[in-house]
């Protein structure tokens, strides 16, 4: 009906492009934001982008290993979030702040 024609087949390339864009946004956000919690969330974005790429390739190569890797990544991400948030809490107790800019004792 419209002039635009949907692609019939969503090939892996689309997912890869999406993954790239998600990863970029996550990376930029990590570099820009100062709130450590938000920085953490950006890290999660990047991990998800990687997972997306893995799953895409798994489908493209017709191999289950990609999804197995995603599985493990999910587990590790969960563990990482737990420990990371515990660290943030410990730092907060000391400094009453989650602003990454306040932790600059290594300033030369």
């Amino acid at each position: 009906m419209s002039a635009l024609s949907y692609p019939d087949h969503i090939t892996a390339t689309y997912y890869l492009i999406l993954g790239a864009m998600l990863f970029t946004i996550g990376a930029v956000g990590l570099l820009i934001r100062k709130n450590t919690l938000v920085m953490f969330m950006c890290i999660e974005l990047m991990l998800n982008a990687a997972n997306l790429t893995f799953v895409s390739y798994s489908k493209a190569l017709n191999d289950i290993s990609g999804q197995v890797i995603v599985f493990f990544t999910l587990v590790v991400a969960a563990a990482e979030v737990a420990v990371g948030l515990a660290i943030i809490i410990a730092i907060f107790r000391r400094r009453q702040s989650v602003n990454a800019d306040d932790v600059d004792l290594l300033k030369g």
């Binding site: 100062k34 191999d63 289950i64 995603v70 999910l74 590790v76 809490i89």
Partner: protein, 196 residues
């Protein structure tokens, strides 16, 4: 139909991502993150990775995001963060780098056939309709059983670690809670030392 789902989910993912990085309030960022994660789960489903999608929802979209929200509200940092420009170069450079990364990845993706050599024969995906729980679990518990057990150990370590890191030091808990906000150097460093 396939395309519609894809584009809608893709849009949701990107909106969520942009919302995460630009949310003034961390709670907003967390909610946008939830949007992204859920959309990614949909994309998984579209690629016939059912188990992974389910795990994504259960672990990521619920547990992790809820954990984030707990910490945000616990620490009481749901306030606006000041925008400072002590290092303006950071912002500019970050965006430039972002663009470059994107371009780089796209070039790599587009111009090349990364697939070389024979396919691995670890596990062939089953027929799309049957779901891949069986295939995934078969591969997981045979070829990758070691890694699987290691992740179990990793989770235990993570739990223990986070408990140790986040707790207040033992008998000083009552005394410290009075002066915690005032946070004198000695008691503060004491708690630092014992938690370290």
């Amino acid at each position: 139909m396939e395309a519609v789902v894809f584009f809608v989910s893709a849009a949701a993912v990107l909106i969520g991502a942009l919302g995460v990085i630009s949310g003034r309030n961390p709670v907003h960022s967390a909610l946008f993150l939830l949007l992204t994660l859920a959309s990614v789960a949909v994309l998984y489903l579209q690629q016939h990775a059912a188990l992974v999608a389910a795990i994504q929802i259960v672990v990521y979209a619920s547990a992790i995001v809820v954990l984030f929200l707990f910490v945000i509200t616990l620490l009481g940092v749901d306030k606006h963060e000041p925008r400072d420009d002590a290092h303006p170069i950071q912002r500019v450079t970050a965006i430039v780098l972002g663009v470059l990364v994107l371009v780089g990845i796209l070039v790599l993706v587009h111009g090349n056939r990364w697939v070389t050599g024979a396919h691995s024969s670890r596990g062939v995906l089953g027929a799309p309709a049957s779901g891949n729980v069986e295939t995934l679990s078969k591969s997981l518990f045979t070829d990758f059983v070691w890694a699987f057990e290691m992740t179990a150990v990793l989770l235990v370590i993570a739990v223990v670690g986070s408990v140790v890191l986040a707790r207040r030091s033992g008998h000083r808990a009552q005394v410290a809670s009075d002066g915690d906000d005032a946070s004198s150097e000695s008691t503060g460093s004491e708690s630092e030392r014992s938690t370290a």
